[in-house]
Subunit: 386 residues, 2 copies
């Protein structure tokens, strides 16, 4: 019985180009086995019959499942515990209604030890252009390493450039990484990443809604991108040109109510132009992986404040600061000289001078005040403020 | 009489640390000559008497004016046509009420041929850290050059780093550039920029609210920054650390209702950290000088759209694209094969195939369709979307 269901799912996965909301509705109504039977016989509504007509007599379910088993993989469907129900509810959003590619997937082909529902619970997509610069690859690696260290799964598309750097760093950090493919799980694309994708299949998860043998094509990358966004708590675009798949993934994430983050870069770099465009359109500007963790992590996992330079002058009141800055850079000054320099009555200068002396910032000697030796003169403050 | 007024203005400019709203109010009430007389005699309200007590007997007005005249300079006050009234109305904003440093200046000491009111009408501040990177200096130069080419005056603070790069590029482009100083117009600070500041005084404008001889100090830089923001239609922060005067200038600009722009940079660069902080707090992300022009220019001066890569596939409908991508990368395919690959009924494939053939994207030969030779296979599209 289970075998029959599995064969039905596998058959349905190939009978039309996924995702197909009509097919999903039919399966919801009468289950996969009955749905497969009706499709095979052509006893389905017109629209569904049209899109299944070309492939309904093509049944490679048994062979597909055998290939999947040989690779130690599994089907993940809405019947399984592993199905990340919550991740896919975003597809119900109004913005998606008229976009069939935004539909919930019917079947996912998966290879790897990571559980998809656990991944979706605590994950970030790190995506970007294939034409990454060393800056982009550095950020992708660095952030992926930092995220897996905090047990956040790193999701990406397995491509060259940013995606590859993110996957590799996640693997290097013994973290969980997920590659969502735009073709069958046996079509390791790009070819130069087949070793990388094999490693992901061994320790993380390879996942695709396409049955074995299906080759990636432009529309499949775009369709795949919605799954990257769906199973990720936030989508981080590290580098992207003005037209890029990463921007498409970001659009999916936004439509599903996920947080879209973009990493800024030099305005002179075309590889960052897409990020800047996203930022101008409201994406979250992120500069540290901790900020991503704050978004995808549990409540209360807050990023540390970035380190600010501090100065002993920070805590001075305005009056104290004015008096301090009225002191000469070298040598000492009398009370009267300080009062003139500070444009304050002499009797109002003494109090602040005493406070500054207590704070160790100035010294009094022979009736003159001077900047204390161990402190730097406020030129440092002045310089900083230029 | 005019000489008497000038002497009064010069005396008032030094009698207390500017800006001093109480002094401004007194001058508004009874004019500079009478105000100077009252201050000198101590016949002023308590608060004003306190802040003028230390310097009221110190009258170097004649010497100051002589020095100014020798340098070919002038005083600019609210009595002059050149006074940029509109630029200073921002100081009336509520946010400034309790901040005396946000007050309208009383007197401006100026040297140079540019008219301050004309500058304020069409200008942008380009500011940033002294510790600029080559990236920041490149952007500052490039943008300053582009702005002066469109007759936008470039305002800055004369400092090392970003400020200097902006001033220099503006001069190189024979444009107008204004340096607002934090000390007297005869105290060319920093010393390494004295030649640069001399050139600005010759072709642009040096301006300060401090009388001759006053040395820059931390609080004067902060006070000066409000004037940079005030006389600029927008403030562009090119590079800034987390604590920087540029962020202070930006805060003044925001408080006055001016547009604050920040240039993003690498997240790995501390010189861009302040820009990213400003962007997270709502500053406008700018990537091209044209975007600044759009803000400070006349209505209708719009930035060109950035160039997007284009592809002949852009104009295809979804169905046409699906059919196009169902064609093999090499060799041809029959109508039936294409229908299976596209998961569409054969009779629905023919229309799109014909449209694609008309568009020159595919060719039909011997009952087979193939990608037209001069076109690249959509792997380019697929790649782009990874």
């Amino acid at each position: 019985m289970i075998a029959e269901e599995q064969r039905a799912w596998a058959y349905l996965s190939r009978v039309t180009e996924p995702p197909c909301p009509q097919l999903g509705a039919l399966v919801d109504e009468c289950g996969p086995v009955r749905a497969a039977e009706l499709v095979r016989r052509g006893e389905v509504p017109d629209r569904l019959r049209d899109v299944t007509a070309a492939r309904r007599d093509l049944d490679c379910a048994a062979a597909d499942l055998e290939l999947l088993a040989r690779r130690g993989g599994r089907l993940i469907t809405a019947d399984d515990e592993e199905w990340p129900q919550l991740a896919f509810t975003g597809f119900g959003a109004t913005a998606m209604r008229d976009r069939p590619r935004g539909s919930v997937p019917l079947v996912l082909w998966a290879v790897g030890p990571a559980r998809l529902d656990e991944v979706a619970w605590r994950s970030a997509a790190i995506v970007g252009t294939r034409a990454a610069t060393s800056y982009g690859e550095h950020v992708a690696s660095d952030w992926a390493a930092a995220l897996v260290e905090r047990e956040v799964a790193v999701v990406s598309g397995g491509a060259y450039g940013i995606d590859g750097a993110a996957h590799r760093a996640a693997l290097a950090g013994s973290g969980t990484t997920v590659a969502v493919l735009a073709g069958g799980i046996d079509v390791l694309y790009p070819a130069g990443h087949s070793a990388l994708l094999h490693r992901i299949a061994t320790s993380g998860l390879l996942v695709s809604e396409y049955p074995p043998g299906v080759r990636p094509a432009r529309h499949r990358f775009l369709t795949r991108n919605r799954l990257v966004a769906a199973i990720s708590g936030a989508t981080v675009v590290v580098e992207a040109g003005l037209r890029s798949g990463a921007a498409n993934t970001a659009a999916w994430a936004a439509a599903m109510g996920r947080v879209v983050c973009a990493v800024p870069g030099p305005v002179t770099s075309t590889a960052s132009a897409g990020c800047h465009q996203l930022l101008r359109r409201g994406a979250e500007l992120v500069t540290r992986p901790q900020e991503v963790l704050e978004i995808v992590g549990r409540m209360g996992e807050l990023a540390d404040d970035p380190q600010h330079p501090v100065s002993p002058l920070d805590d001075l009141s305005d009056v104290e600061r004015t008096v301090y800055e009225a002191l000469p850079g070298r040598g000492g000054a009398t009370l009267g000289q300080i009062a003139v320099a500070a444009a304050m009555p002499a009797q109002q200068v003494l109090g602040p001078l005493t406070m500054l002396e207590i704070a160790g910032l100035i010294e009094q000697r022979d009736g003159q005040w001077r900047i204390a030796r161990l402190q730097r003169k406020p030129t440092s403050g002045a310089d900083r403020s230029v």
